[in-house]
Point group: C2
Chain length 261, copies 2
């Protein structure tokens, strides 16, 4: 697989159907984002939901209604074409994948780009903290918790978390590092006993793949960008659009710009 270094070039390749793969490892140093598109009357409520739940739902940028551009996250970006694969939701349920949104786009749609843990994982790896699911080549383990998000209109539901196992000293360092990234989920929300946040079986994630926890390690839990997708399913808008998991929007924002220190 080609590795692109320039986000604008990668987005042009996706737009031209020359790149149709997962974006992990693409454009090192640049932030990748989750996508959520909603009709205008749901979008204002969703924005309030995000404002009230910044850890699982950090907004990196949003469009004007009907406008496919989001200059805050990428020059020359067209949200209808610059992601390699989209999932269309009808009444909150997945209703099929598409390669672009040219047929689906409407004048009242608002696109949200939501921060993603790839950004802080890059900082962890640069600091020498291994991220096991990446090393093992599978998807991160994600779990529904018994922690409720703050509700906003029709949006709400449980906090979803991602889990990365670490030794305690690594977890302390990871808390320091991810605290510097409040716009990409920030510090963990929990570590240790899964039952304390309502996770019954750490070996059976609700989303993604299981991750082995080695002796001497503890599971460390971060608020996860799947939370807003879960909130959208609960709100059941007639139309909603997300990226296909793994096929992220690659932005012009550098991960280092998302660090507050």
């Amino acid at each position: 697989m080609d590795i692109y270094t320039d986000p604008a070039e990668l987005r042009r390749a996706i737009r031209a159907r020359k790149f149709a793969s997962h974006t992990a490892g693409q454009c090192p140093g640049y932030a990748q984002g989750n996508l959520a598109i909603l009709p205008r009357d749901y979008a204002s409520e969703f924005l309030r939901f995000a404002q009230m739940n910044p850890k699982p739902c950090p907004i990196l940028g949003m469009s004007e209604p009907g406008d496919p551009r989001i200059p805050a996250v990428g020059a020359d970006l067209d949200i209808r074409t610059d992601i390699s694969r989209y999932v269309v939701f009808r009444d909150g349920e997945p209703a099929g994948d598409v390669d672009d949104l040219m047929q689906v786009w409407r004048d009242d749609l608002v696109a949200f780009v939501i921060g993603c843990s790839f950004s802080f994982e890059e900082a962890l790896k640069e600091d020498g903290i291994p991220v096991r699911y990446v090393e093992r080549g599978h998807n991160v383990s994600m779990y529904r918790t018994n922690v409720a998000t703050a509700e906003a209109g029709r949006f709400g539901g449980p906090l979803v978390v991602s889990m990365r196992p670490m030794k305690p000293a690594q977890a302390i360092r990871a808390i320091q590092i991810t605290s510097r990234f409040p716009n990409v989920h920030g510090a963990p929300v929990h570590f240790g006993d899964p039952a304390a946040i309502g996770i019954r079986d750490i070996g059976k994630p609700d989303f993604g793949d299981p991750t082995e926890i080695l002796p001497g390690e503890v599971p460390v839990f971060w608020a996860c960008g799947v939370t807003p997708q879960s909130a959208i399913r609960k709100a059941r808008p007639p139309l909603a659009i997300a990226h296909k998991p793994g096929c992220m929007l690659v932005t012009d924002l550098r991960n280092s710009q998302l660090s507050v220190f």
Copy 2:
């Protein structure tokens, strides 16, 4: 007990024998320090030990040989008289307490003021994180670990840690807060399984009192200012002087000045 608000006033009261008690709770907002006094030929090695082990041994200030003043930590400070109770060590072993150092002081003595966890505990409490040993009115639990300090000349030995039990979410916040205080022990060195750092029985601290760990809590371990005392005992200098535990040097430094953010 009188609560003093001005460190210089408290030091004058100690000097005049009007105050002879523990200093916990005195001069809120101001940093209190551990004391270590060594002959000049040991002092340079000890300084190197501190430089190599900044987490357990953060130096807030030091004197010139034979000079009882340390203007970096307090105007009008006389290290021979401004602590209410001192312990004199001969060949590394305690050899008696004294109220002042006027009879013991020598031209070759160097005084070190070492940061103390009171500073970050104040920040924890201000953030709403309870510190159990303070609430229960006993001394913090401290343990010898199997983690070796970096040796410098005759100084070395095991890292000593203090332990505070917390819920995981409180521990994450405490890691963020104490990371801002690198000069008063900084972030924890470990949490969770005591055996991982060589602590056999969490209920039996090597120094201080036991602390109850409630259900849902984990022990969180910080590098402790008793580590340099332990290193001094190992080095066995013919003369060394420390403060009596609890009878700290109250400095003119504000805790907020010790915070890096």
